[in-house]
């Protein structure tokens, strides 16, 4: 018997603002734009929306992020569902999960889920936008030891994780590069992508080190912008203007890190638990997935995530991606819009937005040949939080 939540909601609207080095708007301004676009895309009036879930990006930690005030900026009264959620990069997929459950439970009808961020300042680097943590007074005691050792920011955490995988399994720099090259090939066909010039493996290797083993081109593109989706009941979705994208599976996994021998959060992630739950709900497995939209804050994240979803065995992710199968024409089209590496970094909304576009069949030049099941993953922290969605143009 099918899982009772399989197909219990559909994504019926998508709104994407311009992305990148766009100045003069706050995160809340971007959020308003994305919500307006998503509602119009769904063919709804603002008064039809009775649920709003909000996820602030890094600006949420800096005091300038979008928050509950968005409701009033949008002039949305009478909401039956409202929250400001944060499980880092896993939040976008989680918002759709909670929206699906709320719709199924009859708590709301049309739920808007929005992510917005505006960390970039004119003339400032991504490091300046995202970093500076090390310049503030850090934590004391044991938690202060990392900053005391010059370990600052997400780049260092993912470099340490990537190195561990290389040492355990022989994963190579060429294999990280294969991810960057494949995603760039997709990005050349995405008008919204920030980096659209083709990329060679040689150019990848020539890009400067950030934290070795991560080059600049192993790292995502910090962006200003916002993305929103509308989640609706499946019986209504069928008669709404855009091709409905049904939620067929969903799961989460949060492994924790006890920081002691025996744990391996760097190389065995929450994607395992999330995959188990999501595939069971969808009644599917990795072999059934036609398109992958995988959270790719770094190239390494893609490799370890594909392993943990069972597309290949643990430790074989490097070899798995090295033959170009993730790119255009490959056996497993992955991050078909260019991902966070070459298109735009909107946390979990990057894979979700492209997943909706692909499931609708609106990818244009970059449309994957098959799209019956689309996997969307979200990852946050230092591979600490994970959530997944399995999307489909078919309800059953």
């Amino acid at each position: 018997m099918a899982h009772r939540l399989r197909g219990a909601a559909a994504i019926t609207g998508l709104g994407i603002t311009p992305m990148g080095r766009i100045y003069g708007k706050s995160a809340t301004d971007f959020a308003v734009d994305a919500v307006r676009l998503a509602i119009a895309d769904a063919g709804l009036a603002k008064s039809d929306v009775d649920g709003l879930l909000i996820n602030a990006g890094i600006t949420g930690f800096q005091g300038t992020g979008v928050g509950l005030q968005l409701q009033n900026a949008l002039g949305m009264g009478g909401l039956r569902l409202l929250n400001h959620m944060n499980a880092a990069g896993s939040t976008a997929a989680q918002m759709v999960q909670y929206a699906t459950m709320a719709i199924d439970a009859g708590m709301a009808t049309h739920v808007v889920c929005v992510f917005a961020d505006a960390p970039l300042r004119e003339g400032g680097s991504a490091a300046a936008a995202y970093g500076n943590a090390g310049r503030r007074a850090g934590p004391r005691g044991i938690l202060g030891l990392a900053a005391g050792a010059g370990q600052f920011g997400a780049n260092t955490a993912y470099a340490l994780a990537a190195r561990r995988h290389m040492a355990l399994y022989g994963t190579t720099q060429d294999q990280f590069g294969a991810v960057a090259v494949a995603e760039r090939a997709w990005a050349t066909m995405n008008p919204r992508a920030r980096m659209r010039d083709p990329l060679t493996l040689e150019q990848y290797h020539a890009s400067r080190w950030i934290v070795e083993p991560l080059h600049l081109l192993d790292c995502c593109l910090v962006s200003n912008g916002a993305v929103a989706v509308v989640v609706s009941p499946p019986d209504r979705a069928a008669s709404m203007p855009r091709p409905p994208v049904y939620v067929r599976g969903m799961g989460q996994g949060h492994p924790g890190d006890m920081r002691r021998a025996g744990d391996s959060p760097e190389t065995e992630t929450g994607a395992r638990l999330a995959a188990e739950t999501a595939f069971r709900m969808a009644g599917a497995g990795p072999a059934d997935i036609d398109v992958c939209e995988v959270y790719d804050c770094y190239t390494y994240t893609v490799i370890v995530t594909l392993e943990d979803y069972g597309f290949c065995a643990k430790g074989e992710g490097g070899a798995f991606v090295a033959d170009g199968k993730l790119g255009p024409g490959g056996a497993l089209p992955t991050n078909t819009g260019g991902g966070q590496l070459s298109a735009y970094y909107m946390w979990g909304m990057t894979p979700l937005s492209e997943g909706v576009i692909q499931a609708r069949g609106e990818g244009g030049e970059r449309q994957a040949p098959k799209r019956d099941l689309v996997l969307v993953t979200g990852n946050g922290g230092a591979l600490s939080y994970h959530a997944s969605l399995i999307l489909s143009p078919h309800r059953n």
């Binding site: 490091a127 970093g131 090390g134 310049r135 007074a137 850090g138 934590p139 004391r140 005691g141 044991i142 938690l143 202060g144 030891l145 990392a146 900053a147 005391g148 050792a149 010059g150 370990q151 600052f152 920011g153 780049n155 260092t156 470099a159 340490l160 994780a161 990537a162 190195r163 561990r164 040492a167 355990l168 400067r208 080190w209 950030i210 934290v211 070795e212 083993p213 991560l214 006890m258 920081r259 002691r260 021998a261 025996g262 760097e266």
Partner: protein, 141 residues
């Protein structure tokens, strides 16, 4: 002309309520671990409660100071001005022989010679007056 501003200083971890003895022992070159009074689990305490059994209360034990490099990376990014002269510098996570893992730099080795699994031993150094735990290749490693 000399810069009137004082040079930037590296951030160092200061003792909190839990870790006064940890840093005091560090100033004497000794590495302490917390042993849970309920279950005996050894940890570097970032909370008064044992994450294994949720027991309260722990006793300090002297650790061997020996471990292996669990993972490492080499920082090239200009992130903190006080660290700029050190670029590129290594960062590592050391798994102590007793089990807990701690972030630290490895000294006395070229970045290119670092390897996962390398045997290391603690060496407490100072930044200003503050004791900072670092590791060096083990003498008999």
């Amino acid at each position: 002309m000399a810069d009137a501003d004082s040079p930037p200083r590296k951030p160092v971890s200061e003792p909190d309520e839990l870790t006064e003895p940890f840093f005091a022992a560090g100033a004497e070159g000794r590495l302490l671990l917390a042993a849970c009074d309920s279950c005996g689990e050894l940890r570097l305490p970032s909370s008064p409660v044992c994450p294994s059994c949720l027991g309260e209360g722990f006793s300090w034990r002297e650790a061997s100071g020996r471990g292996t490099v669990y993972t490492f990376a080499v920082m090239h990014q200009r992130y903190h001005p006080a660290w700029e002269p050190d670029l590129p510098y290594n960062i590592a996570v050391v798994e102590l022989d007793e089990g807990p893992r701690m972030p630290a730099n490895v000294v006395g080795v070229d970045n290119g010679e670092l390897a996962v699994g390398m045997a290391v031993e603690v060496v407490w150094q100072r930044e200003g007056d503050a004791p900072v735990p670092r590791f060096r290749p083990a003498a008999d490693g």
